[in-house]
């Protein structure tokens, strides 16, 4: 899994939720937790610093879980 691809996917998710009412950051994190395999989430968390992320993704980061 390449970190830039994961960042692109996360940014795409953020661009959907940025227009939604409610806690947008939580919604982004929930979507990622529910649909990404733990390995993808861990990889993403590990390499996020080097990526250009949507502000919502940055806000969601603390709520994105690793495995278990």
């Amino acid at each position: 899994m390449t970190p830039d691809k994961l960042a692109r996917m996360a940014n795409q998710i953020a661009r959907f939720f940025e227009s939604q009412p409610g806690d947008q950051a939580q919604a982004v994190a929930d979507h990622i937790n529910a649909n990404w395999a733990p390995a993808m989430r861990e990889e993403f968390i590990a390499h996020h610093a080097a990526q250009e992320l949507h502000p919502l993704v940055n806000a969601a980061l603390p709520a994105i879980r690793g495995r278990g």
Partner: protein, 961 residues
């Protein structure tokens, strides 16, 4: 024919032809031949007699078509009426007294038959329809014993006097599947009427009058006519004038087994008509609830692939993909495969392996493959080809309505007043549904098409109002939100429905969002290319229709905003109150025969069967108890994620059942790199498909003719697939999966797919009431089928949404990253055509290729002229992902700036060009938008030539010792 295997309760008179279509109306009682008969008002006397078990002789009447009254054989005597009226065109009346057999009638009928036979060859013994000919039957039924007329003018003899007979027309063999022999034609018009009424193509007509009348395509032959080879005329023909060539070659069938077509998501029911274990013909089953006796060229005729010499019938293995294949026993192949999976897991962890289930295989087979991943391999790395087609439907409809399913049955189309077709091309992709929709359009229903291309549906003969919104690819959300804008701001919404059925707060939020001027048709016109006034007119038409129904296809889902578009569709249906009754709804037209089923069966990595998230402990507990194992609560990898992980070195083994990801998935180079990086690729398929060039184990698959099971079609209808012949490679697919699981130590012991269905019913609430006995009894059943809906559910969300209140969700337009620019100034979109199916693995191995032997690039005359491209020229099609070459065809069906191609042929490799862009929610690939450049070329690209060479290299099979 005898020895019928058909569902219970459908024996008896229904099997035979009732003469005219069924009607609904108040009961009317009449007396026929001394018997009281009660039938609905509007029923013909002929059908009323048939209901009473009395067969009135007939030739031009059949219950698939409206009565026509031309053959005069069905005349009857009715008290108080003069003469001998035709029973097919005479409606019943209360108290009517009918006689179907009198001396007068017998004499008149013999006279009619005598005239027919005087212009018909008497070669019955050697005729292809011998024993299956209504003319022959009727001659017997009316007691014709003598033909008094000496041969005069006729259409039968090749010669007349000393010269050629000018009336004789030679047989037309141009269609690969059936012939037209005018010398046997009795001009009953059944074929012409079937082409009009059932298929809706109007390819046939009658030329000449009186004795000169002949059936004609109006062109030189059938192949070069408008005929789409659906077979309706062949089915309707009472003689051997239009007949399947297989019947001529083999003889008449001796038994029939009702089964389900394995092509598209319409899921037509067919009679597999057999002689021994040889399939003679597939005839659409009149009691099939999806197709109502109709078919298309694929299901009706394109089954020859099942016997094609390319079928691989022995398991094969090889250490390396550069080695030739070695044919081995099932046992050796399965042990080799199991070792490969175990080795990968031992070295790289349990999540380094996965499976892909097939939307071509049965529910039972799909269930087993995902169970293999979850329960035996211990990973949730399971996905299915629905990932690349309808996964956004799953997400979007679950979020808004609460479950991932079309809301209607196909019969619902008969009550539609306005059909909105978005990103779908039913007359090519879902032909039998396309014909049913066209029938409704001819009755006056309105049509709105939202599609970059002008699809054939818009040119339906005799249709009423049609509106085309020719949007720029990638702007679906902007167009649909603009439709909602018009409905909201012009107050065309159904407030009562919204108040009762939807969440009011979410509605208020959505209404405010949609009403924003930024979403008005005028504001988005420049972006979408759709004239604002046309868009407003479409919104008003849909909102005003008593019953508005939306039908959509992959032109909706295969976009970076695929899931948002599905949500926008659900929003439109809810705003207008078009949910929860016949004639309305949201109808995803599923691509493959069992896309619905494979999704239902828990193929997705985040969902257990029945769309329940793996993190839900209560659901896991059900399966853990059933399977005696512990399940992973975390989602697994999706297909594109598996390939990414493979390239990164973390994913090492895969079992792929019935899917050709190398050809069907986007960005071929990336797929190839992923497969090449794996240590153990197990392909389970009918043919050495494109993916198999990277495989280490090949397990031979079985066709739908060779196994038992069920398919679930686009209307959630669970149809039985019945084995009509033994698996040619020894094992049905479910047996092969079980053997692989057992080689991994599973200890499964299913002996029939019905046991697998029982397990599905035990564990999955929406299937709780489903059994093979129920399906056999009812013919088919639509889920949810459980205690609340023991007979299944034709229409969903009748009294409330599955999730409770319907949920409105904002749908902001987000432009795709795939944009045109100076290097790639055109937008490529892709689709399919009638005669070929998906990657063409089956249809290319049939005579269907006479209609489509290569993929063509459709380009607008303006774009072609700028590039100096002429009709039929080789062109190079390039994107940032790759390039390929194919021939161009020039048409204004596509807008300037848009090009279109199909993806049926592996040598075209259209997916070399498509990119790795995908839907934000589900990673469904963005097949429908790729920025490309087109230029003249000399022939195949380097990649195509390299690929061709690799094909030869990777398909070698070692000679048997």
């Amino acid at each position: 024919m005898k020895d019928l295997i058909i569902p219970d309760g459908i024996h008896g008179p229904k099997l035979s032809d009732m003469g005219t279509p069924a009607k609904s109306g108040a009961p009317v009682t009449l007396v026929i031949d001394g018997m009281d008969v009660t039938v609905p008002e509007g029923t013909s006397v002929m059908r009323a007699a048939a209901e009473a078990g009395i067969t009135v002789p007939k030739l031009c009447a059949t219950d698939m078509l409206e009565a026509y009254g031309s053959c005069r054989l069905c005349m009857v005597e009715i008290e108080g009426m003069r003469g001998t009226p035709a029973s097919c065109t005479t409606p019943v009346r209360e108290g009517m007294v009918v006689k179907t057999q009198t001396e007068q009638l017998a004499r008149l009928r013999r006279g009619v038959m005598e005239l027919y036979i005087s212009d018909h060859p008497l070669d019955c013994l050697t005729c292809a329809a011998n024993g299956d000919c209504e003319l022959q039957d009727m001659a017997g039924a009316v007691g014709l014993r003598d033909v008094r007329y000496t041969p005069g003018d006729n259409h039968v003899e090749t010669r007349a006097g000393d010269g050629a007979n000018p009336r004789y027309i030679p047989r037309d063999d141009s269609n690969p599947y059936f012939f037209y022999d005018p010398s046997k034609c009795i001009v009953c018009m059944r074929c012409v009427r079937a082409c009009e009424e059932v298929q809706g193509t109007f390819a046939l007509t009658v030329e000449g009058r009186g004795f000169d009348a002949r059936i004609s395509t109006g062109t030189e032959d059938f192949l070069n006519s408008d005929c789409v080879s659906c077979g309706a005329c062949v089915q309707a023909c009472p003689t051997a004038t239009l007949q399947e060539k297989t019947v001529e070659e083999i003889g008449t069938p001796e038994r029939l087994i009702v089964t389900t077509c394995a092509y598209c998501g319409v899921g037509c029911s067919f009679e597999a008509q057999m002689r021994g274990d040889q399939l003679v013909r597939m005839v659409p089953w009149k009691d099939g609830k999806a197709n109502r006796g109709h078919s298309c060229v694929k299901g009706r005729f394109a089954w020859g692939y099942a016997n094609h010499s390319d079928r691989i019938l022995s398991p094969m293995i090889r250490e390396s993909i550069t080695d030739p294949w070695r044919e081995v026993s099932w046992e050796e192949a399965l042990d080799f495969a199991a070792e490969g999976i175990k080795a990968a897991q031992a070295k790289h962890g349990k999540d380094s392996v996965g499976v892909i289930t097939s939307s071509r295989c049965t529910n039972e087979e799909t269930f087993l493959v995902q169970k293999l991943a979850r329960a035996v391999m211990g990973t949730n790395n399971t996905d299915t080809c629905a990932r690349v087609c309808h996964s956004p439907t799953g997400y979007g409809l679950k979020q808004t309505f609460g479950t991932s399913a079309g809301t209607q049955d196909f019969d619902s189309v008969e009550q539609v007043d306005c059909a909105v077709v978005i990103g779908a091309n039913p007359t090519d992709g879902h032909p039998v549904f396309g014909s049913r929709l066209r029938k409704r359009l001819r009755q006056g229903a309105k049509l709105i098409v939202i599609d970059p291309r002008r699809i054939d549906l818009l040119e339906t003969p005799h249709m009423g109002e049609g509106i085309h919104l020719p949007l720029r690819p990638g702007t679906n959300v902007a167009v649909l939100t603009a439709l909602a804008h018009v409905i909201v701001t012009e107050k065309l919404y159904d407030e009562a429905f919204i108040r009762e059925r939807c969440d009011w707060e979410e509605w208020s939020d959505y209404a405010e969002f949609a009403a924003d001027l930024a979403h008005s048709p005028e504001a988005v016109e420049a972006l979408t290319g759709v004239p604002a006034e046309t868009l407003r007119q479409a919104a008003r038409t849909y909102a005003a229709a008593p019953n508005g129904a939306i039908y959509y296809g992959l032109g909706v889902t295969e976009h970076s905003q695929g899931s948002t578009t599905v949500i926008a569709i659900a929003n439109l249906a809810m705003i207008t109150g078009n949910i929860g009754r016949p004639g309305v709804g949201v109808n995803p037209l599923r691509g493959q025969n069992n896309v619905q089923g494979s999704c239902d069966m828990g193929s997705f990595p985040h969902e257990l069967p029945g769309y329940r998230h793996v993190s839900d402990a209560a659901t896991r507990a059900i399966f853990e108890a059933e399977w005696h194992t512990t399940l992973d609560p975390e989602p697994g990898l999706r297909i594109p994620n598996m390939l990414d992980a493979a390239v990164a070195g973390d994913f090492k083994a895969i079992y792929i059942q019935g899917e050709d990801i190398l050809q069907s998935d986007p960005d071929t180079h990336h797929v190839a790199a992923g497969l090449a990086a794996m240590d153990c690729v197990i392909v389970h398929d009918l043919f050495l498909n494109e993916t198999a060039r990277y495989a280490h184990v090949f397990l031979p698959g079985s066709t739908f003719l060779e196994k038992d099971g069920t398919f679930t079609n686009a209307e959630r209808r669970i149809n039985r697939v019945r084995r009509v012949m033994a698996p040619k490679a020894g094992l049905a697919d479910w047996e092969a999966t079980q053997a692989l699981a057992n080689a991994l130590g599973a200890g499964w012991s299913y002996t029939h797919p019905s046991q697998i269905m029982a397990e599905i019913a035990r564990t999955t609430p929406s299937f709780a009431g489903v059994t093979y006995e129920l399906i056999d009894h009812m013919g088919s059943v639509q889920w949810p089928c459980n205690e609340a809906h023991p007979q299944g559910s034709p229409v969903m969300h009748e009294d409330g949404f599955v999730r409770g209140k319907g949920r409105f969700i904002r749908t902001a337009y987000v432009a795709t990253d795939e944009r045109t620019g100076p290097h790639f100034p055109l937008l490529l979109t892709t689709g399919r055509i009638l005669s070929q199916y998906n990657v063409g693995a089956q249809t290319r191995r049939t005579e269907n290729s006479v209609w489509h032997d290569q993929d063509l690039l459709e380009i607008h005359p303006h774009d072609a002229e700028q590039r100096g491209i002429n009709e039929g020229d080789w062109v190079r099609l390039a994107s940032r992902s790759g390039e390929t070459s194919l021939r161009a065809t020039i048409t204004d069906r596509v807008a300037p700036g848009v090009v279109y191609t199909t993806f049926h042929h592996p040598d075209t490799q259209a997916n070399v060009v498509t990119t790795d862009n995908s839907d934000w929610a589900t990673n469904c690939p963005e097949y429908k938008v790729t920025a490309v450049q087109v230029a003249l070329s000399n022939g195949p690209s380097d990649w195509q030539e390299l690929y061709e060479a690799q094909t030869k290299l990777t398909r070698r099979v070692e000679a048997a010792e």
